[in-house]
Each structure stands twice: as C-alpha cells, then as structure tokens.
Symmetry: C2
Subunit: 357 residues, 2 copies
C-alpha cells in the first residue's frame, strides 16, 4: 500500500482500537496472548495470583496490583487509607488462594506537590496493613508521577496441593462466601454522589469503602481444610466473581439466596435502589467467593468458624451454563457479567487524586 | 492551639515540606523510618534488591521499580522500548547482587487513549526483555492511569552467601566496573536537547538510551566467583553509585582512571562538554560498579571474560572519607554526590509520555 493510501486508511487501521473502546478484559487478553508460557509457573496466567514452583511441592506466590488515585481513591479517603487499601487489595487475592503473604514491596508514583506528612501517612498505611496480615514491607522505590500511584507486590508461600484455583468447581458443589455484599455499593454512592445513608448502615458502608479488610485467616483455614474446589476474590464485584469461576471451571451457578450484608436490603429499598444491584455490582469488596465439595461443607463451616467467620451459603454449581438468581417467587433472574472494568467504567475521583488527604 | 492560630501558622506547619523540596532520597528516608523491620529479610532495606530467607541458605530475591512516562521515557523511545526498559532496569539491580530473575509481574497504568497496537508493543517489549534474561512474565494487572506507568516486580533466587551487598568494601579493594560510561549522557543530550552527535558515537549513544542491556550473566559469574566485596547498579549515575558504596561500606574511593566508553571523550570535547560530567553524571546506565578483593582480581577478570565482559579497573577503596578523581596532572578532583534524583532533577518528556510511540 502506498503511504498516501495508508494515511487515508486512517488512524484506526494504523493503531487499532483505543483502550477506552477495548475495555480492560480485552486488553488483558491481548497482552496475555503475546507472552511466552513458563513451565514452572502455576497457576496459569489469569488466576488471582501467579506462582513459581520451588520444588518439593512448594510454590512461591507472587501478586501485584496497582492503586491509581483517579480510579481507586474515592473522595474522602485519606492517604493513610489509600496506602492501606493498596496492601489489602493484594492480600485479598492471596487469601482467596490460601497463600500467606510474607514480604511486600511498595513502588510509589508520587506527585511533586505531595507534602511530607502525606508521605508519612502513606508509609504508615503501608506498614500497618502489612503487619495486620503478618507481612512486612521489605523494599520498594519512589518515583515522580502526575498522579498518586501505589503498586504493591507481594511474595508469599503456599503448598501446591493447597492452592485453590478458579478452575475446580463441579456441578453440585456448594457456592458460598465469607461475608455479606452491598455495603460498598451504598458507601460509594454516599461518597461519589452524596446520597445520605441512615445511621447504622452509614457507618458500616463507609468503613467497607475506606477501611476494607482482607479475609486472610479464613482463606488460609479453608484452603488447609482441603474442601474447596474453586475460589476467587470479589474485588471486581460478586457478579464478576461468579462469571470468573463459571468461565474457569466450565459450570453454571444457581444462586438461591442473595448474600446481602445486614441492613443493605432495607436501606437500598428506602433509597429507591435495587438490592440486586447492590449485591452483585458493588465491587471493591474483599470477600472470598468459593465452591465447596458437598461432603466437605460441615468441615468448611467449622474451619471458617474457628477463623471467626460464618460462611454464607448462597447456592450451588450446576452443569448448565449461565448464572441465575432464584427469586422468592420462584422466577429465575439472570446475573449478567458486569462489575467494575477499567477504561469503561468511569472514575472515582477527579483524575488527580487530590481528594486523598 | 486555637483553630485560628493553627491556620495562621500556615500550610508548611500543617503539611510539612513538599516532595519537590525534599527530594527522593529524603522521601525514602522518611518512608523507611516508619517501617517495621522483618527478621527474615536480607539484605536490609536500602540495597538494590530485597530478599527473604527461605531456609537452607536460600534467599527469595524481590525487586520492584516503576517506569513512569514523564520521567523515564525520553522523546523518540517507542512503547516497545519503554516496556523493555521497565524490565531491564529491574534485572540490572538483580544482576548487581548476583541473583537470577525467574518470574516477572507487570502492573500497567495505561491512558485510555492508548491504541491496541501500542498495547501489543508493550506486551512484546515485556516478553522479549524477560526472555532475554531467562525469565518469564507470569502475571500482572492493568489499570487506567493519567500517564503510562509500567511497574515490574521480579522474583528470583540467590544463595545468601553469594549475594553481594553494598556494604562490604574495605580499604585496598579494587574499584571496577563492567563497562564504559558517558554514552547515555550524550544520547540524552541528543534526544532531549537536539544536540547533533557524530556518526559512530551517535549510534552507540542512542542504543545506550533506547535499547539498554542489563549485565546479568557477568553479574552472576562475578557473584559466584566469590571475589566481590560490594556492588551496586549504576542506573542513577556513576557518581551516585560510588557515593552509595562509600556510604554503605564506610570507605572512600580514589578513582585513577575515568571509565569512559569509547569515543565519548572526543565527542564531548568536540561539543564543548565536560567528559567528567559525561562519565559521572549521565545516569540510566546499567553497568555494575563493584569492589574486588585484591587477591581475587585475576579471578574476577577471568570470570568476567568468560561471560564476555572485560572488567574496567578504575581505582581503589581507601580508608579516608571522600571520593576523588586523580587527574592526569596529579591533582585530585572531588566527585560530588549527584546524578538523577526524582522530584528535583526535572523530567524527560512532556509530562504525559505521549512521545512513546
């Protein structure tokens, strides 16, 4: 093709679609398709964590996730809380796999106008979150960046036969989760849209957004009990988690009870919001969504209870494709894929993270 | 203090100095001072890499470093080259310690306007660089970000008694490096200021900036030979590297010969630039700067030669503090601390990395 014609063919031809059109999942597919596969890597690319076989059945577990101010820091979140969240969101992925984090590196992209106290708050947030989950910040680096970026990388260990993949769910397995959903949906509505929540729910909803917790101890206990067939963390929303387990395992799901957190249904209805939306499409919740082998259910409940968590049974895996909620009237309502997706879903803050104080 | 008075006391009191005034090194000190220390971590925070004792003398080696478009991508660098550099700059730190990288995670902050082809170029750059050094990209994540950010995290293994720290130099040790300096100084002048370089140096200088290499094989060979007392990578400039070894080891250095790359001295003089500046303050060079125990020098030279590298002897460690160059006339010229420092040293690009194509 002559250069003139190539030019007329236009930018789309020359550079392909833009990320804003492609969306995050397609972007990950493109990248993943261009990477050589490592024989010693396990689980394969696309699970919550990466791993590397050390021999003797032991895996080095590796995880990285980047917190970016404009998409991950809602108004009202402090620097301390932002740094803490950057650790929690990574620990949550290790928790879902049954891996204990040991060492954390923190790579910081910092705007030049950041103040010394803000930097100290970031350091304290990182350290406190690491220590809370038994890990240490052992290194990192600092960089100048147009907006605040905190990229944590975690190292941990796990026995290969204890790691719970996304791919092991079988029809008949019990679908369960470590906690209730919907609080972050309400909390983000309050912080982003100024919706007034009523007293008791307000506190829980803001805490869920600003001071989230990872389900590490219960994740470790369940993995060690050896009764889970699959699991995933729920940070991209419960609907997304179910679709991920469904895709990776080749099963469908019938949800028989919405695992709503206490007070969410009443508050949503009071505000004219759909509890279904709050349950499945909130996102930024750090629960573990899992399938349990039917003969291991009692053991799972007991292991979780010893770790201080009451497992919520929400349904079961089925052989037919599709993910459905059985409503109280018996109707089946489809739970479509959805949830937070970078490049498509908009942004939390004002694009410069200056809300983090 | 009453609120009114606190307000009059001003922002400086309330929020401390800004990063742009503090500089990167002070920022790192502040962060580091607030972190709990891990008993199983080795080497301590502040060396080129972090490590975690796995037992049996084996260390898990961890490294993260973030490439940010506005400071790390000069005009004329492609997305492929930028992604490649994001890997190389991390591998270089492992090389300096004698650790082999095995698995790499890549966390990407991507502007929404990035095109599909650019994304593919980034993936190819990451994969090619990882494979070149025997490692694999085993995971990562993608995020929306105002400017291009590529944060790589490396996992590798190393025997604790082979890891070369920054802190082991003793007076009398031979100061050496794996290659010549000054090409990136000229190359960055060409890319950032439009200075015209003459033919043969031009090619080498642009290659040094756009397609740098990490000194992995020679780093591993030297560490295994067991003859190094200290080492550091030179990505922040040769002067900075010498000051780091000096600070960590408590020695001074007498540099008897500037380790200039071929052609740099003549080209610098032709352009009215100071070869001393080119040698010590270029930065973004990925050589290993090391001290060798005097009785191990021949073995070090031989180990390096087998890895295809001719060691450059440049001086020696001395008991007196300070770092000096002995000039041809016998005068001692001080080599001041300096080199690239985030928040203080300005930026490469236009602040948005749109030069990366």
């Amino acid at each position: 093709m002559r250069p003139g014609l190539a030019y007329l063919w236009g930018l789309r031809r020359q550079h392909g679609m833009r990320l804003a059109e492609l969306g995050e999942r397609k972007a990950i597919e493109i990248i993943s398709s261009l990477l050589d596969r490592a024989p010693d890597a396990f689980p394969p690319i696309g699970d919550d964590v990466a791993g590397w076989r050390l021999g003797g059945g032991l895996l080095a577990i590796l995880k990285t996730d980047m917190l970016v101010a404009s998409t991950d820091i809602p108004p009202g979140m402090t620097y301390y809380q932002a740094a803490r969240k950057a650790v929690v969101m990574n620990v949550s992925d290790m928790a879902a796999k049954g891996a204990r984090p040991l060492a954390i590196l923190a790579s910081l992209g910092l705007p030049g106008g950041l103040a010394e106290e803000d930097l100290s708050d970031i350091a304290r947030g990182l350290n406190d979150a690491a220590r809370r989950y038994g890990a240490f910040i052992v290194g990192g680096d600092t960089n100048e960046c147009g907006e605040l970026v905190i990229c944590c990388s975690l190292f941990g260990l796990c026995h290969e036969d204890e790691l719970v993949p996304r791919s092991g769910a079988r029809p008949g397995d019990i679908l369960a989760t470590t906690g209730g959903f919907g609080l972050t949906y309400l909390g983000l509505k309050a912080l982003l849209e100024g919706i007034e929540l009523s007293g008791p729910v307000r506190e829980a909803a803001l805490k869920a957004v600003l001071m989230p917790e990872a389900r590490l101890e219960v994740g470790l206990a369940l993995a060690r009990a050896g009764v889970l067939s699959s699991s995933v963390d729920s940070s991209d929303g419960l609907a997304w988690s179910l679709h991920e387990l469904s895709r990776a395992s080749g099963v469908g799901f019938l949800v028989e009870e919405m695992p709503l957190a206490p007070g969410v249904e009443e508050e949503a209805l009071r505000l004219g919001l759909d509890p279904f939306e709050a349950c499945f499409y909130g996102g930024e919740e750090y629960e573990i969504v899992m399938t349990v082998r039917p003969d291991g259910w009692e053991e799972a409940v007991e292991a979780a209870r010893r770790a201080g968590v009451e497992l919520k049974r929400m349904g079961r895996a089925v052989g037919e494709p599709g993910i459905w909620l059985r409503e109280p009237d018996g109707n089946l309502r489809p739970i479509e894929a959805g949830g937070w997706e970078h490049f498509r879903s908009g942004r939390h803050g004002d694009g410069h993270g200056r809300d983090a104080r």
